[in-house]
């Protein structure tokens, strides 16, 4: 193991900016595009959850993906809106149809808009943060998929707001996490809700261990619908990106906060290089698409979506170029024909659905609520990355072009067959789940991180996979998407490679040595230990 300075770890040769924007990705595999295929297991999966409710539930509708019974299979908690949230234990078998069983878990609260798994107390048992219309609630994992409310025990002030965004980090190696919660409109404002954005909150550790301090308002706030702690410049300290819904703010824009341990949060400004961008921000997905070590950010919106790539090759300023158009991911209107009006995008997530070692993009779409100027039948997107770094729409041919009113979603390998499956949460309609059955998919490897002490899942670290000169890289985050959080296996496609090398750069900047991993296998990467093979 050797110590890397965070900045040094981030440094790569500085190519020309134009080349950076459009450079093909390093590929483990060849140039052939494998079209993904999915089987719709929704009707037989056992999942019947709907995201219900009227105006106060027009946003949100998330799903949490996590393993709470230590069997390696990802379980699911669906936000129910005005209906109770529903927990489903994953009863799938390896490679089999996706099967879930509803189970009372203590999570059956109403008014839940979104859910994020996080091991808050670092006891190795997954906890949950439930975002709600009303009081937010932290739920302590008790093991075997049982949970208990922990607001009082952990000093968590759930407040009373319309919350729909979340992100978490451990500031400077603190023993307790910092939670950021994004809040939306003042729901008491009936005739004039515009301009009534309520403050986002930063729940930092309290002065005594094991508890949160009173929430710190992040002002100004502009109706956040997605938050993400991300080390955008590889400084070693993540900043907080905030994607805001321009429908409701006045004088607002997209935001990023500098969150330094022990210091007041500071907004990045134009003087720092931050650029004024005003969108109907609803979801953030991140991935280092061009292998320059810095994350790209996909921001969902209405009509055109954004794909941002850092302009400065040395990460010196938070200025981004929007490359969604040349990359082919504007996803601005339905691609299935019929309607020519714009789309409405919510959850977004990167993952490799055909295991060709290139990250693909899944976007959940759905009308806000009968808005006639936007698509009523708005298919979800599955944008598969080509060898040249551009993306090709495959949602229809892959069988996942749902026309239901989508909101949250998830990409995860629910039956542990090495292929990433898809979930969509729908407003007023049952959630959907698709089993990945892509023929001719490449190899894969899935890894889970474990470090002793606090922050067991290494939130804020980086996981890298190397094959020859090509490196795939994922930032380990908790947050983003649309009201939908995930924890568990981190999946990489390997293409034709029979193996690769993996390493973790832990949240404190310490990098493990590269370790060999075989294709088509699961590994637990424990800090300072050899990669441990895991089998379902």
């Amino acid at each position: 193991m050797r110590q890397l300075s965070p900045l040094r770890a981030a440094m790569l040769p500085a190519p020309l900016i134009a080349a950076l924007l459009l450079a093909p990705l390093p590929a483990f595999a060849g140039d052939t595009l494998t079209i993904p295929a999915f089987a719709d297991d929704s009707a037989t999966s056992g999942i019947t959850s709907r995201y219900e409710g009227d105006w106060e539930y027009m946003v949100g509708g998330g799903v949490a993906t996590f393993d709470c019974n230590a069997d390696g299979f990802a379980d699911l908690l669906f936000a129910g809106g005005s209906a109770p949230a529903t927990f489903y234990r994953n009863a799938s078998t390896t490679g089999g149809p996706l099967a879930f069983v509803p189970q009372v878990a203590g999570l059956e609260l109403d008014a839940v808009t979104g859910a994020y798994p996080l091991d808050i107390d670092s006891d190795g048992i997954m906890d949950l943060v439930l975002l709600r219309v009303g009081e937010n609630v932290v739920m302590r994992g008790l093991g075997d998929c049982r949970f208990a409310r922990a607001n009082k025990d952990w000093g968590f002030d759930g407040g009373d707001a319309w919350s729909a965004a979340f992100a978490a980090t451990w500031e400077g190696g603190a023993g307790w996490p910092t939670l950021a919660i994004g809040n939306y409109i003042d729901r008491q404002e009936e005739a004039f809700p515009w301009g009534s954005c309520t403050p986002n909150w930063l729940h930092r550790p309290g002065p005594t261990g094991g508890r949160f301090a009173a929430p710190l308002p992040l002002l100004p706030s502009f109706c956040a619908l997605s938050l993400l702690f991300t080390d955008w410049n590889r400084s070693g300290t993540p900043s907080l990106r905030v994607s805001n819904d321009r429908e409701y703010y006045k004088g607002g824009q997209e935001q990023m906060w500098r969150i330094m341990p022990g210091a007041e949060p500071q907004r990045y400004t134009a003087e720092d290089g931050w650029q004024n961008l005003r969108i109907w921000g609803m979801g953030i997905a991140s991935y280092d698409l061009n292998a320059d070590s810095y994350p790209e950010y996909f921001l969902t919106s209405m009509a055109d979506n954004k794909l941002q790539t850092l302009k400065a090759p040395d990460g010196s300023a938070p200025a981004y170029a929007d490359v969604a158009f040349p990359k082919g991911v504007t996803a601005h209107r339905p691609y299935t024909g019929g309607e020519v009006v714009p789309s409405t995008a919510w959850h977004a997530q990167f993952g490799d659905v055909n295991n060709d070692a290139r990250a693909d993009l899944y976007v959940v779409k759905g009308n806000v609520a009968r808005m006639p100027d936007f698509a009523q039948r708005d298919p979800n997107n599955l944008l598969v990355q080509r060898a040249d770094g551009t993306f090709q729409e495959t949602g229809d041919v892959a069988g996942v072009a749902s026309m239901l009113v989508g909101r949250g979603g998830a990409m995860a390998d629910f039956n542990l067959d090495g292929l990433v499956d898809l979930v969509a949460v729908n407003r007023w309609e049952p959630a959907q789940i698709w089993r990945n059955v892509t023929p001719g998919a490449g190899g894969w490897v899935q890894m889970r991180l474990d470090q002793p002490g606090v922050n067991r899942d290494a939130i804020g670290g980086w996981l890298e996979l190397r094959s020859g000169d090509a490196v795939q890289r994922r930032e380990i985050t908790s947050g983003g998407g649309h009201a939908s959080g995930q924890a568990g296996w981190w999946h990489f496609g390997l293409g034709a490679a029979t193996g690769a090398e993996a390493r973790v750069i832990w949240p404190d900047g310490v990098a493990d040595d590269w370790q060999p991993v075989d294709a088509n296998a699961f590994y637990v990467l424990e800090r300072g230990q050899p990669a441990r093979l895991w089998q379902p």
Partner: protein, 436 residues
């Protein structure tokens, strides 16, 4: 000025009771205040409401309010027969009592719900809340038969105006006004898309808007303007000099220039839009001076008509001349890395739409309120911008025009000729007779 003297007389008449024997539970001024406050929000938050579309609705809403009131007024004159295609509106029952606030509220409730029927769930919720709240307020203490009659009258007026508006060419907006396909002109001066990152804006906004039926002027070609300077890349040419003026303006922006540019930026979906900005100014002036409701509806009708005609005339010219934007020319000829201060609107440059409609607003509001009418504009205060003070509507219009040069989105000719075109269009509006 004849119009002004008529309006002065109207101030006195407004002190009188409008409908004999009926006590009002709430003033019609309150109805106008609340609905226009909501209308300005709906313009900002309804996806199809680009500036031309907004101007159209301001016209029809203003005419609706005016006609609802004029039907019971001894002084206000209907615009039927004066505005293109507007036929005689439903008349009130002779000798029957009406409540002006109820009539006006019913008319605006129906009109707002119609013109903003495509707004989102929050707008729908707000409209419903406003309708319920105001209905309860204005009908309180009013005899049921008067309420029923007044609501019926207001709704009949709104329905008449709505039917009139249905075939003007602007009633249906698809894809937020952007055609699915568009072939740019091949000439070097032709407009080309300026926002390379937005797929939806690779075609210009509402290319046929100039063919819409006008309100007070014969058609969109009524106020022509001379062609812009001939396109040239010669540094000695007028065209190049105009482009250099934009470059130098950006390079020498002062905080005051930036404040001006941002104060008049009026981006759709992020503001009340340029026509909404002038309606906002009118609202501020009317409320500052506690103007009676007949005066208010008159102002809204005339201003709305003038703004709507401005966008039709301006769009006719824009697609006639099809001129490229400064950012296109400057990057092509002068500085490939040049960036304007403001977002360049996705349609041809000449003339400046903000200038045209501001020129019209200047003429109309000056006719209504007089020369040298000083006021403060707080329109952008909710967005964090300090108010601006003006000695006159003329000065405000001039500033609105030059703001587009500071913003880097227009050449000077588009501003100067736009203002002139707008003043020509505004003259047609103030030729309307609104008082007996």
């Amino acid at each position: 000025m004849i119009l002004l003297s008529r309006l002065c007389a109207a101030f006195l008449l407004a002190l009188c009771v409008w409908s004999p024997g009926v006590a009002r539970a709430a003033a019609p001024e309150k109805v106008l205040h609340d609905w226009y406050r909501l209308i300005l929000e709906l313009v900002r938050h309804t996806p199809t409401y680009s500036p031309p579309v907004a101007s159209r609705s301001f016209a029809y809403l203003g005419v609706t309010a005016h006609e609802a009131v004029a039907g019971g007024s001894d002084d206000l004159l209907s615009l039927a027969g004066q505005l293109n295609g507007l036929t005689t509106l439903p008349e009130r029952q002779q000798g029957a009592a009406y409540d002006e606030a109820v009539v006006l509220n019913a008319a605006l409730t129906q009109a707002v719900e119609a013109y903003f029927g495509n707004t989102g769930p929050t707008g729908q919720r707000a409209m419903a809340a406003m309708g319920t709240r105001l209905r309860d307020r204005v009908t309180e203490g009013v005899a049921p038969d008067v309420v029923a009659r007044s609501i019926a009258q207001g709704e009949a007026v709104a329905a008449h105006v709505l039917a009139w508006s249905a075939d003007d060419g602007g009633a249906v907006i698809e894809n937020m006004g952007f055609p699915q396909t568009y072939t740019p002109g091949a000439a070097p001066e032709s407009w080309v898309p300026t926002n390379a990152t937005v797929r939806q804006q690779q075609a210009p906004l509402l290319p046929d808007w100039g063919n819409n039926r006008t309100f007070a002027m014969p058609d969109g070609k009524t106020c022509p303007l001379p062609p812009p300077p001939a396109y040239s890349e010669d540094p000695a040419s007028d065209f190049y000099r105009e482009a250099m003026e934009v470059v130098e303006a950006k390079a020498n922006l002062t905080p005051e220039h930036i404040h001006i540019a941002r104060s008049w930026s009026d981006d759709p979906m992020l503001s009340t839009t340029p026509p909404g900005h002038w309606v906002s100014i009118a609202r501020q002036v009317l409320e500052r001076d506690n103007a009676p409701f007949d005066r208010q509806v008159e102002v809204h009708a005339l201003l709305g008509v003038g703004l709507a005609d401005s966008f039709i005339g301006c769009w006719d010219a824009k697609f006639r001349y099809d001129l490229l934007r400064p950012v296109t020319y400057i990057r092509r000829v002068i500085d490939p890395a040049w960036e304007p201060l403001l977002i360049t609107p996705p349609f041809p440059e000449y003339p400046s739409g903000h200038s045209t409609q501001s020129g019209a607003a200047d003429v109309i509001l000056t006719a209504l309120f007089g020369d040298d009418f000083a006021f403060e504009d707080n329109t952008m205060a909710p967005d964090g911008l300090a108010p601006r003070q003006f000695p006159s509507f003329h000065a405000a219009a001039e500033e609105a025009g030059i703001s587009r040069l500071y913003g880097g989105i227009h050449f000077r000719a588009a501003i100067e000729q736009g203002l002139a075109q707008g003043r020509c269009i505004g003259a047609h509006t103030i030729a309307l007779t609104t008082r007996r």
